[in-house]
């Protein structure tokens, strides 16, 4: 009997809005950043369309049904799992990087084999880190000789990663926030415990995976970029995003945020407007990349608005409230407060990220604050 999977009701309007937003942004960028070869833009749009089909389950289901019918099979046999593409989310980044760098004349010359190795490099295929073509090629082209120091360091990272992912994260996962316990839990302290647990589970799971990927690559002489740098200990949201999923943030800066900001800056927009548009749209896209749902969109905007507010505050404070280097204790106290505020802002943001719908997320917020 064919396995069947539940599918959430289609929110076609949401998909159409997302499609229109992505298409408009792509066209806007195309116009603002100057002429690019038409085929580059067409390929980038094609990749975005494919990403949307794979990221939005009702579309994936419809695509699977079409394929089944095309093959003379019953559409009832179709499931979204028919057309899953392992690692496409990250393949997408590498392909778009290559296209954009090629159009800018910055892509180093490489053979087909080198290019394919870069795009589907096994240790980083499923969840990154996202490397740059020029940096990856440098390691790939250097002659591989067994190096005890690299092998030892690689093994150390693999061991640390396995412990973080399969021991710490899996243990915390038992009581981390999810769809079921969000409904069952009552009392603010318990709900806070679930949310804190989710924050740490996600960090240990993802950073553990990254450690394993970096370690495996290192054994083979490839030094993948780091993805985490103690993100929950950062004193503000800007520094959090400089230390959480760093290669993703780096990619969005290079290929979306910087070109958009540069284009708006040269058109003499007011600085606060530029900051708002750039931060909000960048984070919205990062949210939607995780999946096309209202919750991921809200999570992205949550961080976009947070980054905007922090930017405005930092701009106001740096000229007026600069702390003298002769008062290190005051600076330390300000940093501690900053870490606590930033951590809780991020933790509350995970409520949108962890749960499947807005109503349940709002219910959790009500429980957290005893409303």
């Amino acid at each position: 009997m064919a396995a069947r999977f539940s599918v959430r009701s289609a929110a076609l309007h949401l998909v159409l809005i997302a499609l229109a937003a992505v298409a408009s942004l792509t066209m806007l960028m195309g116009r603002l950043i100057g002429p690019r070869p038409a085929w580059t833009m067409a390929l980038v749009i094609g990749l975005i369309a494919l990403l949307i089909v794979l990221k939005y389950e009702p579309f994936t289901q419809a695509f699977a049904s079409t394929l089944r019918i095309w093959q003379g099979q019953s559409a009832a046999e179709a499931s979204a799992f028919d057309v899953r593409w392992l690692g496409f989310s990250y393949i997408f980044f590498r392909l778009v990087s290559a296209l954009r760098d090629r159009a800018a004349g910055k892509l180093p010359g490489m053979s087909l084999r080198e290019f394919v190795t870069y795009v589907v490099f096994a240790p980083a295929l499923i969840a990154g880190p996202i490397d740059r073509p020029d940096r990856f090629l440098k390691d790939l082209r250097s002659t591989f000789r067994f190096n005890l120091a690299d092998a030892t360091e690689g093994a150390r990272r693999i061991a640390i990663g396995a412990f973080k992912k399969f021991v710490v994260a899996d243990l915390i996962a038992v009581f981390a926030l999810n769809e079921v316990n969000a409904e069952q839990a009552h009392g603010a302290p318990w709900v806070w415990l679930l949310v804190y647990a989710y924050a740490f589970r996600l960090y240990f799971d993802f950073s553990g995976y990254t450690d394993i990927a970096i370690g495996v690559a290192r054994v083979f002489g490839i030094r993948l970029p780091e993805n985490f740098n103690r993100p929950y200990l950062k004193p503000n949201l800007t520094q959090f995003w400089n230390s959480w999923h760093m290669s993703l943030a780096h990619w969005f800066r290079a290929y979306y945020f910087n070109p958009l900001t540069r284009a708006l800056r040269t058109r003499a927009w007011a600085m606060p407007a530029i900051i708002f548009v750039s931060q909000a749209t960048t984070m919205l896209l990062i949210g939607l990349w995780h999946g096309i749902t209202w919750n991921f969109a809200i999570w992205g905007l949550w961080h976009g608005l947070g980054l905007f507010v922090h930017n405005r505050w930092a701009d106001f404070a740096k000229a007026r409230l600069a702390i003298s280097p002769e008062r290190p204790r005051l600076q330390q106290a300000v940093n501690v407060v900053g870490v606590l505020v930033t951590f809780h802002f991020v933790v509350l943001g995970w409520v949108w990220f962890a749960l499947p719908d807005v109503a349940l997320s709002l219910e959790v917020f009500e429980k957290l604050f005893g409303l």
């Binding site: 954009r100 780096h250 070109p259 540069r262 530029i274 000229a319």
Partner: protein, 82 residues
Amino acid sequence: MNSNDITHTLSTYVTTQILKQPKRILKGDEPLISSGLIDSFHLVDLGLFIEDKFGVRIEDSELNADTFDTLDQLVVLIQSRQ
């Protein structure tokens, strides 16, 4: 323009226009991006300033700490493209 002049021009721009602390003295090896001293918006502004002042293009994908993180590194980058 020699490297000292470039350093002085860049340092003045960063302290007055970005940090808004004209009396601050920036060391040549002081991390600017990785330390959070210059945020991503001001990094784009710095790129535009360099383009305008020195006629050197720094690509959007190069505006990061991997390409340059200190005044000294930035001066080398500018001179290598002039």
